[in-house]
Each structure stands twice: as structure tokens, then as C-alpha cells.
Point group: C2
Chain length 501, copies 2
Amino acid sequence: MAKTWATLGVDLHLEPAGPRVRRGLTDALREAVRTGRLAPGTRLPSSRSLAADLGIARNTVADAYGDLVAEGWLTARQGSGTRVATGVPASPGRQGSTAAPPTGTASRPRPRSRPAHDLLPGVPDLSSFPRAEWLKAARRALAAAPNEAFGYGDPRGRVELRTALAEYLARARGVRADPARILVCAGFSHGLQILGALLRARGASTVAVESYGLDVHWWLLAGTGLRTVPLPFDELGTDPGPLTDQAAVLLTPAHQFPMGGTLHRDRRAAVVDWARRTGGLVVEDDYDGEFRYDRQPVGALQGLDPDHVVYAGTASKSLAPGLRLAWLVLPPGLVEEAARAKGGTDMCGALDQLTLAAFLTSGAYDRHVRASRLRYRRRRDALVAELARRAPQIRATGIAAGLHMVLRLPPGTEQATLRAASWQDLAIHGLHRYRHPHATVEPLDALVLGYGTPPDHAWSGALEALCAVLPEGDGPRAAGRGPTGAGSPTPAGDGVDASGS
Amino acid sequence: MAKTWATLGVDLHLEPAGPRVRRGLTDALREAVRTGRLAPGTRLPSSRSLAADLGIARNTVADAYGDLVAEGWLTARQGSGTRVATGVPASPGRQGSTAAPPTGTASRPRPRSRPAHDLLPGVPDLSSFPRAEWLKAARRALAAAPNEAFGYGDPRGRVELRTALAEYLARARGVRADPARILVCAGFSHGLQILGALLRARGASTVAVESYGLDVHWWLLAGTGLRTVPLPFDELGTDPGPLTDQAAVLLTPAHQFPMGGTLHRDRRAAVVDWARRTGGLVVEDDYDGEFRYDRQPVGALQGLDPDHVVYAGTASKSLAPGLRLAWLVLPPGLVEEAARAKGGTDMCGALDQLTLAAFLTSGAYDRHVRASRLRYRRRRDALVAELARRAPQIRATGIAAGLHMVLRLPPGTEQATLRAASWQDLAIHGLHRYRHPHATVEPLDALVLGYGTPPDHAWSGALEALCAVLPEGDGPRAAGRGPTGAGSPTPAGDGVDASGS
């Protein structure tokens, strides 16, 4: 049933009712902005008048507006209504993660017209990139590079970087690494595409994933022809029990994304046992394993069985996504297949690889990680303290590590909170967007809050905006939906709460 | 029919006769070296004894040895026989271009155990990479980069680089460029994979290519599900006449690879006319358009019709393959599809992109290209003069541009010449390896000689080794095979000969 949005000449194809209305409206609006049919600065009709125009609920329109504000396509400020963001180019590359797969942004869309407050997860503090140290390392690397480094390279990547990584990963992450089994790739997304292609070439059809995770990963796998099936989770983390004949399982054992928990040791043993029994592959996405605040980092699952686990690390969180440098540590039997799936040639710039190698071997990487850990820990502590003071009804989980936490909301309040955030020009994600479409676990209302992104000077303002939009503890919370209510054990959480223990 | 090579415990699966014997033997030996079954330094049996062992012709064994010496897997020196090269890792990344597709090395295998003399085409003089100037540009780029440059990027690549490229390509190559329509990619191979995926997503099945070209390009297209069909050529260059409903045609108009000619203006018009009539796409691989010695560079075909031609350029020849930076200038309607086919995210390091942008805008790129052009021209002139003096029977064609030339050999002498080269530890390619398997043009015997690779100090030694292996002009040449014999017009050549006109 097609409806025409006469006011703006945008054709919408909407189901008459149900959750798809909002999705359809969101997609149509995003597309209209992206293609330029809705010009930057255009003022949109009020949610009330558009809802009347379309014959749908006003809340549906308000939710769609809120989503698109959060994604950066629209802006909303009290007094001037909702407008198409200026600085939005009619071009690719800014598609939200709810656009048609496979778009495959490495983590999430980064609006170019920045919101006033950015608490989206997935990106570290880019203002803290160690420019001077990096340039020093580049100078050393350029001076030391053999001429052949400027030629066509080994598809596994530069040997200097693989050697430095093997040493670092063994020392810092407990990875059993060997330079010959490391494959450098252009970000984890690229590594996942390589693994997907490799699995497909082996005839695989299904990969198990976690119930909550990054949709771009599911889409990247789908793009290689693999179906993803979600595993359930509980207070011990993702449960490998239902694993049967899947070709592989993709996990975030050190720090579940986005829930924030650590995979329990029994679960670690169980998943490795499954891999040994069936020949399945475990893919360990260790995206931010360096950042653990209250005790020693959790060692890599790969250390348990390097013959069945692919360890995947990245410089995207510890340094910067813009470097496009990540690495896979592969079981011996997979190296050649992975190099072939990569296309048989290196795709990462040799100079950046040599620079990262010099950065690692000089100790600059360790120094940068230590300094970053301290800075992020301070932010987390301030955040937890502020929440305890101003929003004691909100429980923060997954706070022991990483660059994000989960704020559990009273049931039924996630959408309203996101809407309130969009009016504050606060970019933040709800937990629902990270839920696998076939997940069977009970849905939770929560915010996934990234505290890495804001530069230091913007941090307190962002915190202020956050506290202003958090829902009160009464009402909706009292109507908690049983086992997933705010009072239940934190699924896959760290067993720590806002007290920071 | 399986035969076991008892001497070394290598199982061979050989046809009893025919051209496949050599291919099978070459593949089996390469595989044995690659996997480590034949250890580095191992002395191989003489061609006579292995031939007797296998019941095949001695020449077949000698040819296979010669091929593998040229690829760097084996070494052959008079007095010490044929041995497995030392420094050959049991690893991927060194597969020769005759290994099973799709290996997709960007241009050709670069043996890690370097031959004494390297005249393989496809790689510039790596020793001339402008390290100091590059570091200067990196310093400027790092100082000027906005923080967001370190984040997840536009899938088209950094806007600073696209802007600098648009200006440069318009000025230097006559490309009608717009930063919004440029897509930065990790080498031309990556660009071709993106275009292949895009064409497949549109339902395409066939792409026309030139009769002589790079097999990795055919394999990369095959890897995306596209069949390649070769077009014939004559003295005007590749003939677009047979084009019908192919989805695209891949051409090297400015400097045919490997033949060296320029596409005649009538052919340029004809191919653009075909694209307009049918909606087909022309992909212009302008891999070394900067290097033309005797007159102004030939402008890009894309200038004729930016709506139907994809222009593809690269830093691999003008600077270094190790940068993994290339660019596509796309028709307006393809930008979004290409960005999606790229995976929806940037895959090239932001800092290298910013550095190349700074390198371009500061004029350092122009200076480097001018200096390189002079150096390569001197080499070419010395090569042509030396050949005229010492091997006047050999005709050099395709010498007006680029980093390689074609040395036409008397019919039937290509294999023997390559064999002689392997005994001199001279790495050089025969023309046959660049011939499309379904090409219908008459095969030619020739060498494809790259004069970019040797550093300056090694150049005269390489020239000496080359002159020592070139066949005499009598005998085979007198038995010229009609229209493709050495005396016929140079197909797709420049119409210039060794006199350098």
C-alpha cells in the first residue's frame, strides 16, 4: 500500500500498520535526504501534521525523526523544528546501519554534521591520536625500509609488522602468535570478509553469532553468502550450548559488544570443546581488549587452542579507525586459504604497516594504550559517579572495560529516551539496534553509551545532556516485564554495577 | 595418469603427452617448493634424468625448470645445477601467475630471492622512491588533518585526496574529474574487484578484454563471476568491432600492456560509440600514462565521454606499488554502487591518502614524475642503442612510453631465450604468458622487458645479461610465419622501432 507524502513530494511505500511503518518511514526519509530530494536545511512538517497526512500514529513519525536525528541526517532543536541537516552530501558513505545491507561500515555511521554531543559507541577519542609520536615512527620506518617494501607485498602484510604484532599479542593478550600465521587486513570488517569468503569456499553456509552485536558484521557475512544464527546468553555470557554443525562462531569473549560482559571460563572451555569436536572455527573479535580498568586484562580465548581459534585484533580502538589496520592470527591450516581469499596481494599500505611496527617496537604503542586507558577510566568513573548522583534509578553495566557501557532503562522507555536525546542534539544509540533479528532472548530497553568519542573538553557537556534525558525511575520501571526487568541479573554483564566494583 | 617422482617423493599428476605435461610439471614443482616439501637449497635432478624418470621429453623438463627459475622458485647456475631457491618461504604470496586462479597479485610475482638481473615488467625503480619528500608531505598532512580524519571514513576516500586528484588528472591526463566521482582504492586490482562486483550486481556476465594483458585481471574478474572474452588487435590497436552486448570492455588505451601501442583515435571513437549505443562501460586502465618520452602524453579516453568511461589511475608506477593507492573516476550514476561494492567503508589508510594529497598539491608529485621520466628515458635510450649495436636482428617495439618494451624474437625462439635467460639468472618474461587463453590473434614470440625495476647501479649489468641471451637473427627468423613474422607491421605497437623515432 503506497502512500504519497504530498507535502514534500516523497513517495513512501508503507505497510498500513505494525513495526514496519516506522522502518519504512525512516528508510524513505533517509533515502530522500541522501539523494538530495530533501535539500539541506529543509524544514520538515511537524510529526503531528505528517502523521495526519499519512494516516499513521504520531509517535511513529516522532520515532522516525528521532532515529534520523541520531544518525545525523536530520537536526532537531527546540524552536526551529526538525530540519534536514546541512552538510549532508547527496552521496554514499553516510548510510545508517538500518539501511539496506550490505553497507558494511566498519562500525557505525559517523554523521558528518556533528551532533552537539556524541555518545555513540565504536570510536575512540580521535583528538588524542598521537600525531607527533606517529610521525617519529614514520620517520624511523621510512629510513629503515628496504627498497622492496615499496613493491608489491606479501598478501599476509609486512613481515616487520607481523613480527612486532606476534611479540606484542603474546605479551599483552596471551595470544599464541607466530608472524607466519598473521594476516594484516584493512580493519576488522576486511578480516571478516576474508574469513567469510574462506568459509564459503569451504562450502560453509551458517555462522553463529551473539544475540547482540554489530549488524554490519552480520551483513558482511551475508554478503559472502553466509547465514548468521544468534546464540542465547545469560549471566555467564553467550551460551555455546546450541552450537551444532555451524562452520564458525563469531564471539567477543574479552568484552561482549555491546553488553560489556566477559565470557565465563566454563563457556570458553565449552566453545573450544565444540570447535575441537566438530572442526568448527571460533572467531575471536578482540576489538578493545587493551582497555580493562579494574583488573588485569582478560587473556585471549585463542590462547586455549590456536588451532581452532582465529584471533582478530585491530588498531581502530587503541589508535584510530582511520589507519585501517587490523590483524588476524590464524590456525596454521588457514593461512594460505586466507591469503587467497584476501586476493593474493597485500591491500594495506606498506608505510603505515612499517610505521605501526616501529610504533610497537619502540614502546610508543604501550605508552599510548596506558595513557588512553587512564583517560577513559577517568571518564568512566566520572560517568558512573554522576549517574549515581543524578540518576540513581539507572543501572550501568559492562563498565569494567572498553569504551562504552550499557545503561539499563525501565522497560518501554528506550524509544522515548532516544527521542528526548535527539531534542538535546545528543547522539546515542538504543540497545535494540544491536539485537539480531532472529534473537530469541527477551528484548531489553537500554542505551549503549560510548564515552570514547568526545574530546576531553566536550565530555562534561555530553554528560550533562545525558543526565537530562534519562527517564525517571517510577512508572514504566514499576511495570517491569519480569525476568528482563531492571532488577534482574545483568545478562552477559560483568556482575558489576554503577558502584564501579 | 599419475606418475610419482620417486627421486624426491613428489607426486605428479601428468597427462601422458601434450602441452599440459609442462604445465602440470611446473605446477607440481611450484607447489612442492611452496609447501616446503622441496626444501630450500635442494638440488634437483638434471633435466635428462628427471625426463627419463617420468617418461617425458627432456625439453619439457628444461622448460618447466626455466619457468620456475624466472618466477624465482628455483635458481640455476652453471656448475651447480638447478636448486630450490633459498629464502623461499613455505607460504602464500609468491605464487606465480600461472598458479591456480584467482591469486590476484596486483601485477606479477616478485620473487623474494632476487635474481641477479631483474627485467620483469610492472614495477618501477623502487630505490628511487622519494623518501625525504614523502616524509615532508606526511608531516604536513599530519599537522593539518582534522580529528575526524582518524575516524571511519567516506567509502570514496579522503576528500583532500579526491580534490587533489581531480585537479591533477584534469591537468595532466585530460580526465574530466570531480572529487565527488572519484573512488580511492587499494591498487588497481582492488578497483577492478569493485567494478567486477558492481557489474555482477547489475547482472552482467561478460567483459571484453585485450588479447594480451595481465592474467591476474582476468582472474580477478572471474573471481567476481565474470567471463572475459578477448578482442583482436592490429596496427591501430585493439579492435572494438566485435563488441556486442558485453557489459564492459577493459582497455589500456594510452599504452597497451604489454604490447606498448597507443589506441588509434578512430578506435577510441569507435569504443565510445559502442558504449553509448549499448550502455556498456569502458574501463580505461591508465597504469603508466605519465611516462611518455617522445611527445606529449596521450590524453585519457575518459575525456571523450565521462558518462561511459571509468578512468583508473594508480600510484603504483608513478610512485610505488607498496602505497596501495589507486583511483577510479566514475560516471555519475556509478558512484553509489561502487561505494557499496567497495564494502561501504574506506579501506585505505587515511594518513597515506592525506600524504599523497599533500604530495600532489605541493608539486612534489610533478617533480618526481618529471625526474622519473628522465631517468627511465635514459634507460630506454641506452637499451635501444645497445640493442641496435649488439643485436640488430631484434626489433624493439612499444618504446615510446612506459617502463617496458617488447623485443620481437624470431618465431619459435621465445622458450629457448627464456631458458638461456634463466641460466644467466636473468628474470624476464616471454610474451606468451600475457596472451589470453581464448585469443585468436596469431601468437608472437617476444620478450616483455621491464626496464623500471633495476636500481641505477644494476642497470648496465642487466643490459649485458640480456644481450648475451638474445637469439641470433638467422635460421628461425628466416622461417617467419607470415603476417605475424618479425618483418610485419607491429601489431598495436607505436609504429616506432628501435631507432627510437
